[in-house]
Subunit: 157 residues, 2 copies
């Protein structure tokens, strides 16, 4: 498995927040029941999203969470990275401060190990897919999906 359920649950959580039209915060309990996910586990995940600056929280009664910015501006690479940690295909891969991709096997400065070409391409494919998808797209996708389901149920009855 490329990703764990941390990413799955976290994305579902973000989509759920994105579906809410108003400006009132949504409690985690509401999200947990809507998506049938364990509340206590979601607490851990939403903490990562908050620390990454993707959601804001308001404490106390009638508190909850909201997106920190419009869903159109949230790309999924930020969401997944907040939940799963840095997106690297292999342990020896890490981003250097200048944004270059390094492989810790390159002890001689410029040398690349025999697998670097492959992992570079894989990482490129993944980050391109993640960065090219906005939360708004997923919200719209799920909304349409639900409309189709409701329509199908209606015509079946």
């Amino acid at each position: 498995m490329l990703f764990s359920t941390k990413a799955e649950y976290g994305v579902r959580l973000m989509v759920e927040l994105g579906r809410q039209p108003g400006s009132a915060p949504i409690s985690l309990n509401t999200v947990a029941e809507a998506e049938r996910l364990p509340l206590s586990y979601l607490e851990h995940l939403v903490a990562k999203l908050r620390k990454a600056g993707l959601v804001t929280s308001t404490r106390g009664a009638h508190g909850g969470y909201q997106l920190a910015m419009p869903a159109e501006q949230i790309t999924m690479d930020a969401v997944v990275e907040a939940l799963e940690g840095q997106i690297a295909p292999m342990e020896c891969f890490h981003d250097s401060p200048e944004g270059k991709v390094l492989c810790s096997h390159e002890s001689d400065g410029d040398q690349a190990c025999s697998t670097k070409l492959l992992w570079m391409r894989v990482q490129g494919g993944v980050t391109k897919a993640l960065a090219g998808t906005t939360l708004a797209e997923l919200v719209e996708f799920s909304t349409h999906s639900e409309e189709r389901r409701t329509a199908a149920l209606g015509s079946a009855a």
Copy 2:
């Protein structure tokens, strides 16, 4: 991490086999020393590659492993899948017998969960990168890399 060292070590093993020009089998010990990887662990990995039909083995003295087909015909999706299991971004993803991608949350036949769009794109990016890379490319890449290193050392001396 998207992949574990199983894929890393396994690919390095395959590259090492691909670098050998002759038709004589290479012992695992030779590979292990060349790549500085634990022999006993490589045994487990090469077993997976053999079961997947990517390498052939000859037992007994002077035995070893060889590529089951020319390196140009070996694409890395087969190698990585043999080592890591099915390439799916999320646990709920699995290939149906007809080759379609399914999500086990789609209990209503056609419905998709809100994250499917995202994971479809990610999986597409990964499989495209893996299937678009042949073992021959990696062999050539590593050979050139080594030539550059040798040249650099020579000029420095």
